[in-house]
C-alpha cells in the first residue's frame, strides 16, 4: 500500500492539490480505511467552522479605510526627515552643523552659507529665472499666485498621467527641473500677503515639489508613487482649480468699472 496521506487531506478536501497529486491521494484513499476515516473527520470538522461570505475588512465602510492610514501616520513618531527630502536651507544648516563651525555672525556667516550653497547645490543648482522673484508685494501677489498655480497644475497633471513605454523607465528629468524652479518661487510667494487658504495650498504644493525634485533621475517608481499619492491625498488639483477660480473672479471684479 502507498504511504498514508493524512497530512495532505486538508489540501485534498479544499481542492488545493494538483490533478496528479489528487489522483495519487484518491488511489491511496480507495485502499486505506484509516485515511478514509481521517478524511471523513476532517470534512466534518471543516463543516463546523463557519466560512464568512466576505472578509471582515469589507464590513468596514470606505470612510474607515480612507482615514485608517492617516490615523496610523498621525501616531508615527516624528523622526528626522531623510536627507533626500530636506530643503536647501536645511542642507546648508546641516552642513554648517556637521562641520562643527562655531557660531557665526554677520558677513562671515553669509559668506559661508553662500559657499556651502554652491558646494551643496553644485551641478544640480537650477538657475532658471523666476518671473515672480522680483515682483513687488501687494496686489501683484495675486498675479504671482495665479501664475504659480497654473504652472504647478500643468506639472502635476503631467506627473499624474505620465506612463512609461513598455520596458522603459519613467524619465522625470524635465519635471524635476521645473519642480525646483517652483520650489524657489513658493519661497518667495510665502513671503507675500496671501490669505490663509492660499498660503496653506502653496505650502502643500511646496512639499510635493520638493518630493518631486528629489526623486531619483530614473527607476524611482516608489518616489513617483509617493508624489502621486500626495497629490491625490491632499486633493491638490481640485484646490488649485478652486483657488484659481477665486482669483479669476477677483481679477474680473477689479477690471469692471
Amino acid at each position: 500500500m502507498s504511504r498514508h496521506v493524512r497530512l495532505q487531506l486538508y489540501e485534498y478536501a479544499a481542492g488545493e492539490l494538483s490533478p496528479p497529486e489528487a489522483r495519487q491521494c484518491e488511489e491511496h484513499l480507495a485502499l486505506c480505511a484509516a485515511c478514509r476515516e481521517e478524511l471523513r473527520e476532517m470534512q466534518e470538522a471543516l463543516a463546523l467552522i463557519p466560512r464568512r461570505a466576505t472578509p471582515p475588512s469589507e464590513e468596514r465602510d470606505k470612510g474607515f479605510w480612507r482615514s485608517f492610514a492617516a490615523r496610523v501616520e498621525e501616531r508615527l513618531p516624528a523622526t528626522a526627515r531623510p536627507p533626500a527630502f530636506r530643503g536647501v536651507p536645511e542642507r546648508i544648516a546641516s552642513f554648517v552643523h556637521a562641520s562643527r563651525v562655531p557660531l557665526l555672525a554677520g558677513s562671515g556667516a553669509l559668506a559661508l552659507a553662500a559657499i556651502a550653497a554652491i558646494i551643496l547645490l553644485g551641478p544640480h543648482a537650477e538657475t532658471v529665472p523666476s518671473p515672480v522673484a522680483e515682483a513687488p508685494a501687494g496686489d501683484s501677489a495675486a498675479v504671482m499666485l495665479h501664475d504659480y498655480l497654473r504652472r504647478s497644475q500643468v506639472l502635476l497633471i503631467g506627473v499624474e498621467n505620465a506612463r512609461a513605454e513598455e520596458g522603459a523607465p519613467l524619465d522625470f528629468d524635465l519635471e524635476r527641473r521645473q519642480s525646483r524652479a517652483l520650489v524657489s518661487e513658493a519661497r518667495v510667494l510665502r513671503e507675500q500677503p496671501l490669505d490663509a487658504r492660499s498660503a496653506r495650498l502653496v505650502g502643500d504644493l511646496q512639499k510635493i515639489m520638493i518630493q518631486l525634485a528629489n526623486t531619483d533621475r530614473r527607476h524611482d517608481a516608489a518616489g513617483v508613487a509617493i508624489v502621486r499619492s500626495g497629490i491625490r491625498q491632499n486633493n491638490l488639483l481640485f484646490k488649485i482649480r478652486m483657488t484659481e477660480s477665486v482669483l479669476d473672479a477677483g481679477f474680473a471684479e477689479r477690471r469692471s468699472p
Binding site: 497530512l7 486538508y10 471543516l46 461570505a53 492610514a69 501616520e73 518616489g223 509617493i226 499619492s229
Partner: protein
C-alpha cells in the same frame, strides 16, 4: 472566509523594497503607502483572532506602529506582508487572551446564569470560539490562518517560522481536536 490563495495585495518586490528603504530613513509618506497596501489583509488576520471590529482595528493600528518602529530590524528574509502578519498575529493573540481573562472575571463576578435563551447561531459561534481558544497556541494559529484566513501552507509556515510539514501536522491535529471539543460542547449544551 473567501480569500484568494495569495495575500491579494501584490506589489512589485522592487517597489516595496524602495518604500521600505525610504520608510527606514523617516519617510512617513512611504510608510503610509505600505499601510494602504497591507491594511485590509492585516485587519482580516487580526479579526480572525480577536473576533470583533474594535479590537481588530486597535490591533492592526498597533501592529503598523510596531512595524514602523522595528523596520531597522526587518531583514527582508520574508516579504513585508509576512513579517507584518507575524506582528499582527502576536498582538491579536495577546489581545484575545486578555479579553478571555477579563470575560472570565466578569462572568465570575456576576455569577451569570447559563445563557439558555441565546439564539442557536450565537451559541454555535460561542462554542467554536471556545473550542478554538482551547487549542494549543500553534495549532490555533495554524487553524485560523489556514482555514479561516485562507492562507497557503507556505505563507503560514513563513509567518510562524516553521516547516510546511509542521503546519500540516498542526492543522491536522488542531482540526481533529476542534471537532472533538465542538461535539462535546454541543452535547453538553443539550
Amino acid at each position: 472566509m473567501v480569500r484568494p490563495p495569495q495575500t491579494g495585495h501584490a506589489m512589485p518586490a522592487d517597489e516595496e523594497r524602495q518604500l521600505i528603504s525610504r520608510a527606514r530613513t523617516g519617510s512617513h509618506g512611504a510608510f503610509r503607502i505600505l499601510v494602504e497596501r497591507h491594511m485590509k489583509h492585516a485587519y482580516d488576520v487580526a479579526f480572525s483572532f480577536v473576533g470583533n471590529h474594535d479590537d481588530a482595528s486597535d490591533v492592526t493600528q498597533e501592529a503598523f506602529l510596531r512595524a514602523y518602529g522595528a523596520l531597522s530590524s526587518f531583514r527582508e528574509e520574508a516579504g513585508f506582508g509576512t513579517w507584518l502578519h507575524r506582528i499582527v498575529m502576536n498582538l491579536a493573540m495577546n489581545r484575545a487572551k486578555k479579553n478571555r481573562t477579563r470575560l472570565a472575571r466578569e462572568v465570575d463576578a456576576a455569577e451569570a446564569p447559563a445563557a439558555a435563551g441565546e439564539p442557536e447561531g450565537e451559541d454555535l459561534r460561542g462554542h467554536i470560539e471556545r473550542a478554538l481558544h482551547e487549542l494549543p497556541t500553534l495549532q490555533r494559529a495554524v487553524v485560523i490562518l489556514r482555514t479561516m484566513d485562507g492562507l497557503s501552507t507556505k505563507q503560514v509556515s513563513n509567518i510562524l517560522r516553521c516547516s510546511e510539514g509542521t503546519v500540516k501536522t498542526h492543522l491536522f491535529r488542531g482540526l481533529r481536536k476542534m471537532k472533538a471539543k465542538l461535539e462535546f460542547l454541543q452535547e453538553d449544551a443539550r
